[in-house]
């Protein structure tokens, strides 16, 4: 059966309601225009709205199908009070053709109830602190965000208003209607805590700049980024902290948000460096009709000492910072994995003996085994070579690599390297995973690292020869 999912103001004025049978509604109002409900698109739009609301508060949560919860603790002073803030939000939503009602209260539960049952359409209601019990009392029990079954049963027993519930013995309420009723009541009145799932974790390292006139010039954007970075970095500095990741979000006049991220290899708080990293990325932003609000947030905030203690001389510290800034510039332009430092891995298998580590990171003291010579170029995939050897276990006399035969003048080896059998299923382990490496030098002076995989006495897998690296 098809039912009405949602209605606009005009339809509601004609006496139609959500949940009504579509055929009934069509009989009542023959000229009714209907469209297929699309809950997925609604949810996506609500999430987009949620992201947009970050300009008002860093902590925004999607609530159900049609609501948003904003934690505006400590933010409202930016608008000179909660009423002004709510009015501003309402006006901006109305400007985007989004009808809304807003309530500000001490608890999420009370705000939910007032927004849905007390506030008129297009009204921003502010309940003063600690005063939610009075206005909450006359509201129906459905304003408590109850499950349908519990709400229906309460109504059947004549408990239609919240004030009736407040006086009742709590133990009996819990026994009859489950723990949810008491919990929701306490949450609305502020006796119980409620955890909200915010769209992004609230971070105190957040700052914003709003403009009376939307800006669109690149130079202005860069200057704004610099100002914001200056403010946020000053706060980080006073608390002795630095951050490794910064996100600058430009909110466009039409409600779209453009986030830009930069990462630092060591925690930092230098506004000048940040601005320089942001500047090339701001070019990518399409300002459209202008950018109204820019927010900057710092993530991965960690404690950072004012001066790096272990570096005694000032020049060394400056050099270190110069290299760190270079690594940041390159990593932000080329990609995070394009700048690295080789790190020792305890493995005999050559291709596994090194690993990429962050370019600016402490260097382990233990290096690779100096007694095992290694090539300066290691091919990612060993290349097959054809070989002439005198005896099975001898290094070859002649081998052909990349179409050119090379006569071996000097050879050294073998160095037997077994593959790490514990990385394979038990059935796969065999002599085929043993490599005998030889260092050979051809008559032209080229030095190569070749290996034989497998053993000659294994008739099923005859050994094959490979070239794995080239020495300097």
């Amino acid at each position: 059966m098809r039912r009405l999912y949602a209605l606009n103001v005009e339809a509601r004025a004609l006496g139609l309601f959500a949940g009504q049978k579509a055929t009934d509604a069509a009989a009542l109002v023959p000229e009714l225009a209907t469209h297929e409900a699309d809950p997925a698109a609604d949810a996506a739009a609500l999430e987009a709205l949620c992201d947009w609301c970050v300009r008002f508060s860093p902590a925004v949560a999607v609530d159900g199908r049609d609501g948003l919860l904003l934690d505006i603790t400590g933010v409202s002073h930016l608008w000179d009070g909660e009423q002004a803030m709510a009015d501003d939000l309402l006006a901006r939503l109305a400007g985007n053709d989004i009808p809304a009602r807003i309530a500000v209260a001490d608890t999420a539960g009370a705000a939910w109830a007032f927004a849905r049952f007390t506030a008129a359409a297009g009204q921003a209601l502010v309940i003063p602190p600690g005063a939610q019990a009075g206005p909450l009392s006359p509201l129906p029990v459905t304003a408590l965000r109850l499950e349908e079954a519990a709400a229906a049963q309460l109504a059947r027993l004549g408990l239609t208003r919240i004030e009736r519930l407040i006086g009742l013995p709590r133990a009996q309420l819990t026994r009859r209607f489950g723990p949810q009723v008491v919990l929701r009541l306490d949450q609305a009145l502020g006796h119980a805590r409620e955890a909200l799932v915010f769209r992004r974790p609230p971070s105190p390292w957040h700052d914003r700049l709003a403009f009376a006139e939307p800006i669109s010039l690149l130079d202005d954007l860069v200057r704004v980024a610099g100002d914001l970075a200056e403010r946020l970095c000053a706060r980080l500095r006073t608390e002795g902290r630095g951050a490794r990741r910064f996100e600058l979000t430009c909110h466009r006049a039409d409600g779209k948000a453009f986030p830009v991220q930069v990462g630092l290899s060591v925690a930092g708080r230098d506004a000048r460096i940040l601005t320089r990293l942001f500047a090339p990325r701001l070019e990518m932003i399409d300002p459209g009709f202008g950018i109204e609000v820019v927010t900057l947030s710092a993530e991965e905030v960690e404690a950072m000492s004012a001066a790096q203690g272990e570096l005694d001389s000032r020049r060394a510290a400056m050099a270190e910072e110069g290299v760190a800034a270079l690594v940041d510039r390159l990593a932000n332009r080329l990609g995070e994995d394009a700048v690295w430092r080789a790190e020792v891995v305890q493995s005999h298998v050559p291709e596994r003996a090194e690993r990429a580590a962050p370019a600016i990171s402490p260097c382990a003291t233990a290096g690779w085994d100096p007694d095992r010579p290694r090539p300066i170029r290691l091919l990612a995939h060993p290349e097959a070579i054809t070989v002439m050897a005198k005896l099975p276990d001898d290094p070859p006399l002649l081998f052909t690599w990349r179409g050119r035969p090379r006569r071996v003048r000097l050879a050294e080896g073998p160095e037997r390297i077994a593959e790490e059998w514990w990385r394979r299923p038990v059935g796969d382990i065999g002599p085929g995973f043993v490599r005998d490496y030889y260092r050979v030098e051809d008559e032209a002076g080229g030095r190569y690292w070749i290996f034989r995989a497998g053993l000659y006495d294994d008739a099923r897998n005859p050994p094959r020869w490979w070239l794995h690296g080239v020495f300097a």
Binding site: V323, L326, L334, A342, E354, P370, E441, G445, R447, A472
Partner: protein, 258 residues
């Protein structure tokens, strides 16, 4: 008449020298510690705060192993004074191999780029950064304009550039640029090693090196051997006397037979 002409020339020379000194910091050098090499180089050693070109031949233009080893050895004395950065398009550089040659492979900052433009950008940025002692870069070609930019970047903080000319992924070779802003150009190939008598296996690596171009110096041909004992003091490259002559003689003999 001629006297006044000479005087005017001298004045002009002084002016030119003053102009040159104004844009360039007085050049430091890294001597090889062997007069036969150092005498060919202006100032008695590899000029620092400049960039140098290292080229190879044949298959080496693709593999770039000998050139990489030689470049790393030139940069090794500088690694103690600051960061060393290696910019490349193919990341087949093997840090354990660098450490086998005594180069601090674990401290080396490696940068992988996607194309020539990015390589030159990264090289220029790295050369112009404070705290960077040397930058090694693998590029296909550096034209005159790009070379000038690299040189300007070198002069900012005195970093030394070593550009290894390497063809990125096979393919046909590009025509080499006619001019170059490099301070020197070295042609490097690996040379036959000589193990100590009575010992099996390979000797320390050797490179046959030709100094092809050198501003204010003379070209020359030498064979260098990796100096195993050089931990901190002498240069990690040691000239092997006489053998270059041997090689030349051998080449001549072949020519005579042919």
């Amino acid at each position: 008449m001629s006297g006044s002409r000479a005087a005017r020339l001298a004045v002009l020379r002084d002016q030119v020298a003053a102009l040159e000194a104004g844009t360039r910091t007085p050049s430091l050098v890294q001597p090889f510690g062997d007069p036969r090499v150092d005498d060919c180089l202006p100032g008695g050693g590899l000029p620092l705060g400049r960039w140098h070109e290292i080229v190879a031949e044949g298959l080496e233009t693709e593999v770039g192993a000998a050139a990489a080893g030689f470049g790393a050895m030139l940069a090794r004395p500088l690694a103690a004074t600051g960061a060393v950065i290696w910019v490349m398009r193919r990341d087949d550089l093997y840090a354990p191999g660098l450490e086998s040659l005594g180069f601090p492979g674990r401290r080396l900052i490696q940068v992988r780029v996607r194309d020539e433009a990015q390589a030159l950008m990264a090289l220029e940025d790295a050369l112009g950064s404070a705290g960077v002692a040397a930058v090694l870069g693998e590029t296909e070609d550096v034209d005159l304009t790009a070379g000038r930019r690299l040189q300007l970047a070198c002069e900012k903080h005195g970093a030394t550039g070593l550009i290894l000319r390497r063809r990125p992924f096979g393919g046909s070779a590009r025509k080499a640029a006619t001019g170059s802003a490099a301070a020197t150009r070295w042609r490097v190939s690996s040379a036959a090693s000589h193990p100590p008598p009575g010992e099996p296996g390979l000797g320390p690596p050797r490179w046959s090196v030709a100094l092809e171009r050198c501003r204010g110096g003379r070209p020359g041909t030498w064979i260098f051997e990796w100096n195993e004992e050089a931990d901190h003091g002498p240069h990690p490259l040691r000239m092997v006397p006489g053998l270059a002559g041997d090689a030349l003689a051998a080449a001549e003999r072949v020519r005579r037979i042919a």
